[in-house]
Symmetry: C2
Subunit: 362 residues, 2 copies
Amino acid sequence: MTKRVHNFNPGPAILPLEVLQHAQAEMLDYKGTGMSVMEISHRSKEFESIVTDAQTDLRDLLKIPANYKILFLQGGASLHFAMIPMNFRPAGTSADYIVTGTWSKKAFKESLKLGIAKAAANMEAENFNHLPAQSDLKLDPKAAYLHFTSNETIHGVEYFTEPVPAAGVPLICDTSSDFVSRPIDVSKYAMLYAGVQKNAGPAGVVVCIIREDMLGKVPANLPNLLDYKALAEENSMLNTPPCWSIYIVGLVLKWLKEIGGLEGIAKRNQTKAGLVYQTIDESGGFYKGHAKSDRSLMNVTFRLPTEQLEDTFASEAKKRDMIGLKGHRSVGGMRASLYNALPIEAVEELVKFMKEFQQKNG
Amino acid sequence: MTKRVHNFNPGPAILPLEVLQHAQAEMLDYKGTGMSVMEISHRSKEFESIVTDAQTDLRDLLKIPANYKILFLQGGASLHFAMIPMNFRPAGTSADYIVTGTWSKKAFKESLKLGIAKAAANMEAENFNHLPAQSDLKLDPKAAYLHFTSNETIHGVEYFTEPVPAAGVPLICDTSSDFVSRPIDVSKYAMLYAGVQKNAGPAGVVVCIIREDMLGKVPANLPNLLDYKALAEENSMLNTPPCWSIYIVGLVLKWLKEIGGLEGIAKRNQTKAGLVYQTIDESGGFYKGHAKSDRSLMNVTFRLPTEQLEDTFASEAKKRDMIGLKGHRSVGGMRASLYNALPIEAVEELVKFMKEFQQKNG
């Protein structure tokens, strides 16, 4: 019997067991080719189908309008922190960033290296424990774009309603850690991008969904691999793409469709997060959530009365095969990441354990 | 019984069967963690070991001196075509490029986008059918570096003795398609880089071997993911690396050590290429090699008397489970890629087929 644990890792994170089993079964012979997916040409009809199917399934799931390109690129979201201003902020213009946690702060910082950027809001003084209100945003009406991070993996705050940019300003979103976790209205965005290693696949590929008119803004003479227009023209195949990671993303998207699409997974994700937040809220202060509002459905961050108790919590959880519950090294505390592939049973185990732990140590 | 073919693909390419079986066996549970390699944290001790082991094995195999960093990065060699001038060519200085085929030409072109570059030689007028002599190189004594491509995958020419740069000029090499195919003297190089999807793994990771003093040249304020110094300081973990691809590279390196290291594989590669070249040379002109000299041990490129015969050759080979023998779409003809993982038996099948095909059609 193969051992499997309750995997609360923040990313790379749990994948659907069915997807792993599928990939395992065809590891030596992908669909009768006599080769692994890792050994077939990225220009072969088999790999072309993998890319086309993944694009079609993603378009179905997210209801992506026809005037958006879907790209499978590399470098993690972090490379795109630099590519976005390179591609979409003409020389001399400024871009707006909503700074709501570690990841949007990094995106802002990378952007500042390359030109002018302004913080439309910066929640650091409040320890990133809630999101800014729309009315508190200082929006530049001439901004090249407005950038935000839909879910902050480390601080555990999440946007459920998009910020509204100034009239005519394109909205760009890093959705790495809540990608395909619920339905969204893609038409509100000029670009969405996501490192897939939380909700939709293994590390090594970034999905970029870009409205076609944006590609007209790309300046001439960017390096090929940093040029969204060149990458889109070659359908992500300007050079050899990260084939295996794209293949696994494709399997995850098929799995998502089979279990009820984004409506289905959204309901499941609400139930899962609801169980943990309820346990926190009913603990009489033993468990203390980090977020005051805008609580993430993906990453539930909380503290215990002492750091020592937090260590004990993590190590006792591990003994019960619940792993990945320590908070990010930069903030400490606990974090339960409840991505799409995490079964509800794992969360039930967690809240049972949380209650027992409080009883013993509260 | 699982079907496996004779895989002559130019990249992504054949992987050792043992490596695939190993990865398959631990797909659901990596070393008792209860998780796939794709599901463990890149900061976990398990993944740390994967990276450290791969670095140690590569250092052993290539006898890499201690003052070189080994990085596992993304974007394919093509992204590094841009990163190298960004990092190692100070503003206003020029870099030298030896243009010997499609890949070095691309590297040169990307470099020109970003600043000043000169062709120390350009073999295009001779259809890239041999390499320039050392004495024919026009070397700039003040060049920021001299760049060359050790094996041209499309044209089938390979350097077996490194070009010698002007005194004090760092030598940088794209070794994507002959990486770890034979011993080399790393101390001659300031930097070696290789997309691993030919000889050492699946697509999605680029191995960079960089002499430490080079990192002192990196200018301030490059985007993090384009900054070799920042990437080296974080041991390739500035953000989530392409974990699965690194894992497979690690397995391939272990396999290489087990079958006799680079000395062992070099002998095997010589034998394999020798068989095909002998068949070409003894065909009385029926098979015509593209390269006049400097013939690649990795990619044997040749033509048949007519394009129609070439099509027949490819389709009949495919019927005998030999795949990937068509030349690159940009040059036509045939190409047999004979990377490390291709067993000698596959090459014996190929030359047997070549002889029979000539008898029938010659």
